[in-house]
């Protein structure tokens, strides 16, 4: 089975079809998707701005992480569940959509960034946060994260502008 065939199968499945042809579900799921992204990207941005020394500088980096991360996870779950349902209903169209393909690559990068960050420089956060000086590697990760999430939102919006 090719990826296109899987997309067509999802697209034509009862779940995909009922969302695509629904009066309300599609709009409600779309709304949930935007709220999920807002919560996820918003809280990610708070943490990134803290790393860059631009927000919540009176709190330790690990303090901010502890307060913000649960909200990030909640936003992530809402975003992924709603995004999956939207994809399900338009899978064949999305397969051919250049903006969606670009967004997939960006999302992969946005997923790898925190994986690397948490396994490397963040492991020693308790040491460097005391010196009030964020390592350049951590600041780079923050800038990359802000740039990726901004691009993901823009390319997500751009999906509507391609046939």
């Amino acid at each position: 089975m090719t990826i296109l065939q899987i997309c067509q199968w999802l697209n034509d499945s009862p779940v995909g079809t009922s969302i695509r042809e629904s009066d309300f579900s599609f709009d409600l799921i779309e709304t949930a998707h935007v709220l999920g992204i807002t919560l996820m990207a918003g809280t990610v941005a708070i943490f990134d701005l803290r790393l860059l020394g631009l927000a919540l500088t009176r709190d330790e980096v690990s303090d901010v992480a502890g307060q913000v991360l649960p909200l990030t996870v909640a936003g992530f779950v809402l975003m992924v569940v709603s995004g999956t349902l939207l994809f399900w209903s338009e899978a064949t169209k999305m397969y051919f959509n250049p903006a969606f393909r670009f967004k997939l690559v960006l999302m992969l990068a946005a997923g790898l960034n925190p994986l690397i960050f948490h396994r490397t420089v963040y492991r020693k956060v308790s040491i460097w946060e005391l010196s009030q000086r964020t390592p350049a590697v951590a600041k780079t990760a923050a800038i990359v994260s802000l740039a990726l999430w901004t691009s993901i939102i823009v390319s997500g919006r751009a999906i509507a502008y391609f046939h």
Partner: protein, 140 residues
């Protein structure tokens, strides 16, 4: 502090720019200066989100039949405008008033659809910034 304010303002204006109703703006795809009226037999209906599509066979000046796509609002927008899914039957002759696509393809934005029973329904996407519905006060 100034930078923080700047970041906040930039973020807030980005959020405000997200359109509340329309999936994409009218002008991204269609030309408001190129109105068109198509009359033809319905060949296919896609009653789908985020846009519905009606396909009709239209005869051009030389007598050739060309299949045109008409993009309309989603199922909810159309039902609220007074069109039900069953109102459109394959083979029916319908009249679609709309605007041509900018890319010159056989696609129009369906602003008003006139059904065989004479009912005229607004077919566009509400709030997409397209031209106003001039025949809104005409027969229902």
């Amino acid at each position: 502090m100034k930078l923080r304010l700047a970041v906040f303002v930039a973020g807030a204006s980005l959020l405000a720019a997200v359109p509340a109703l329309a999936h994409h703006s009218f002008s991204a795809e269609f030309d408001g200066h190129k109105p068109v009226r198509l009359v033809g037999a319905l060949t296919k209906v896609e009653w789908t989100n985020p846009h519905s599509y009606f396909y009709i066979d239209v005869k051009d000046d030389k007598g050739n039949v060309v299949n045109w796509g008409c993009e309309g609002g989603g199922p909810l927008a159309l039902s609220r405008a007074g069109m039900k899914r069953g109102d459109l039957k394959i083979g029916d002759t319908i009249v679609v008033d709309g605007y041509l696509a900018k890319d010159g393809s056989h696609l129009i934005d369906a602003r008003r659809v006139t059904l065989p029973d004479g009912r005229s329904v607004y077919g566009g996407s509400p709030g997409d910034g397209g031209p106003p519905d001039t025949s809104a006060t005409s027969k229902k």
